[in-house]
């Protein structure tokens, strides 16, 4: 390694400055929402106030005196169930696309299933769910979310399965296992980082969905995004409480991405299955 010439040092400084600016731009909305959530009720309507004595009134109102905790529970149940089912279906599907080339070009168009505008799907779904008594149930929301999450999860996983050498499964079959056992015991653990990544991806999609949940849930099964939208009432926007709910919505995603980012980066870098 040669010593850094001055030119390179200047370039590095410029890059660091640019990154700092970018990070500031990205983080600004979060900081602003954080500040808003701490504003006392009389200042909430004033967006350009930056200095004030923080108040936790919004937090206590939302956490102790509203439906939001219940909405969070709904969201957690819906998103977790959606992701679990999507992975259960998506893993074998992706593996089959990758290994057996089944479905031919389907592996390339599978995402189009997720691209159909929800507005087209929602009317027939609403009518069918109405007949089945699934309106305002978590099951109904899960089903609609699966139309979106399953294709994305499957598409995401195909690439990971593509990277697993065929010999791994052949070796397992020679070692005395059936092809399905080889898939479960050798292939699935090998693409674990990909599965974690796909899971977080799918979780975020489901967790953030407003459209389906807004139309299908009224009371019992309300999810968090619907609750957030609910702070926009005919009397105006309750900015303080909305800010608290938004922060609560961001939190689990932040935590999840933190735990899997190591896996995700490693797997996207292709190091996951190199032996």
């Amino acid at each position: 390694m040669s010593a850094n010439p001055p030119g390179r040092r200047a370039t590095q400084l410029a890059v660091e400055a640019a990154v700092t600016v970018a990070v500031a731009i990205v983080l600004f909305p979060f900081v602003y929402i954080m500040l808003t959530s701490l504003k006392p009720p009389n200042l909430v309507a004033e967006p350009d106030v930056w200095w004030f004595a923080p108040s936790f009134a919004n937090w206590t109102d939302v956490l102790l005196d509203s439906d939001v905790p219940f909405n969070i529970l709904n969201s957690l149940i819906v998103s977790t169930t959606t992701v679990a089912i999507a992975l259960l279906v998506g893993c074998p599907a992706a593996y089959s696309f990758s290994r057996f080339k089944s479905g031919g070009p389907a592996r390339f168009v599978i995402l189009s299933a997720a691209m159909i505008p929800p507005a087209i799907l929602i009317l027939p779904m609403f009518l069918v769910f109405y007949r089945l008594g699934l309106i305002d149930t978590r099951t109904g929301v899960v089903i609609t979310h699966l139309t979106l999450v399953t294709p994305v999860v499957t598409w995401f996983l195909v690439g990971f399965f593509d990277e697993v050498p065929k010999e791994l499964e052949e070796q397992a079959m020679i070692d005395g296992w059936t092809q399905f056992q080889a898939f479960l015991r050798v292939i699935v653990p090998t693409v674990r980082p990909g599965i974690a990544g796909a899971g977080v991806f799918g979780f975020v999609l489901s967790w953030n969905d407003l459209f389906y949940a807004l139309i299908l849930t009224g009371g019992e099964s309300r999810t968090l995004p619907v609750a957030i939208a609910g702070f926009w009432t005919f009397r105006g926007i309750d900015m303080g409480k909305m800010a608290v709910a938004i922060l609560l919505a961001i939190l689990p995603i932040l935590v999840a991405s933190f735990f899997i980012q190591k896996h995700l980066i490693r797997s996207l870098g292709g190091g996951a299955v190199k032996t």
């Binding site: 397992a172 020679i174 070692d175 056992q181 653990p189 032996t275």
Partner: protein, 358 residues
């Protein structure tokens, strides 16, 4: 230890015929090498033997069982792949014991078997690591160890050494031979490296374009190749060839006359083959023993250490010769030199069919 046999084995991918009727008997305890250029069908043959690929027609027996339609797991074979195929999510010990686990063998016994194989291969200290923490050579040992632990009917190797560097490859070659001697395991080994085949095999099966060209001991394949293909493929540097016409008492070629009686002398087109090692300086051979003698131009000399490869030219024909270092001083680049070949070391092939003439 069981043997194995293939009877009239055929394999087609669509219209493409990969194997055109392979008949082969693999003797128990022998080290059989399938040798051939890429695309000759040797790996396909091995994969069919393992059950990873299904044959289009033909019968496969391992031991006294017909395994033609059995799944890989039912055939009781172990295989070492070129890329080792270690399970990345498992430790080395788990990798090695995975085959025994499939058979429902108690954990304690698996551990004992794994440790025994690990001692044999000197990889005991690696047992708790993951594959990605190992070097290529260590991974190779683990892959071999995993095969040994299984104690299978048949060991299958698919170019296992080709991902290693040259030095390690020679080491592993010796190691594999030692293991083979110790275990006496029936082994089928696929390679395109003729040197590997020559050094390791009890029996070499030379394959070409989906058929078996020749089956025999390394000596037979080297000293009595049955066809031009085998003659050209086995041996390094490759055999020198020159086309000629069979005349009474010998063969007339552009580089001179080869005295090889008994080929009919009826004017048929033949190809004469001379191994680079068989080109001799005149003082090494009695005049009565010489089957060929001619003058060559020395084009250049490649020193390899104890030996050197000399590129020679006569007219438009180029020959390569291998000579010991102490003789190399007699080859001066640009100068002429007379060389000869023993009459017992000539190979004559029919030019049309490529088959050896008796």
């Amino acid at each position: 230890m069981a043997g194995a046999s293939l009877k009239n084995l055929r394999k087609s991918f669509g219209a493409l015929e990969i194997l055109k009727g392979i008949d082969l008997t693999i003797e128990p305890r022998q080290f059989t090498v399938l040798l051939g250029p890429s695309g000759c069908g040797k790996s396909t043959t091995l994969r069919i033997l393992a059950g990873l690929e299904s044959q289009t027609s033909g019968e496969i027996r391992i031991g006294d069982r017909d395994v033609s339609t059995l799944e890989p797991r039912q055939r009781d074979v172990a295989m070492v792949f070129q890329n080792y195929a270690l399970y990345p999510s498992m430790t080395i010990a788990e990798n090695m014991g995975f085959g025994l686990k499939a058979r429902g063998i108690p954990k304690k016994e698996i551990r004992a078997a794994v440790e025994k194989a690990a001692r044999m291969l000197e990889i005991t200290e690696l047992l708790d690591r993951k594959p990605r923490q190992l070097s290529g050579g260590q991974q190779q040992r683990v892959a071999i160890g995993r095969a040994i632990v299984r104690d299978p009917n048949l060991f299958l190797f698919d170019e296992p050494l080709s991902n290693l560097d040259a030095k390690l490859r020679v080491e592993m070659r010796t190691e594999l031979l030692r293991l083979h001697r110790d275990l006496g395991a029936t082994t089928v080994y696929v390679t395109h490296d003729q040197e590997e085949a020559m050094t390791m095999a009890d029996r070499i099966v030379v394959m070409n374009a989906g058929t078996i060209e020749q089956t025999g001991s390394p000596e037979e394949v080297y000293f009595r190749p049955v066809s031009l293909m085998v003659a050209g493929f086995v041996g390094s540097p490759a055999m020198n060839f020159v086309r000629g016409r069979a005349v009474p008492g010998g063969v007339d070629t552009p580089v001179g006359r080869f005295e090889a009686p008994g080929y009919g002398g009826d004017g048929t087109d033949v190809v004469v083959g001379v191994r680079p090692d068989d080109l001799e300086l005149p003082d090494a051979l009695e005049p009565g023993e010489r089957g060929f003698e001619s003058a060559f131009h020395v084009e250049f000399v490649e020193m390899l250490g104890a030996r050197g490869i000399v590129t020679l030219r006569h007219g438009d024909t180029r020959f390569k010769g291998v000579f010991e270092e102490r003789h190399l001083s007699r080859f001066e680049e640009g100068a002429a030199i007379t060389l000869c070949v023993s009459r017992h070391r000539l190979h004559v092939f029919d030019a049309a069919s490529g088959r050896r003439l008796p």
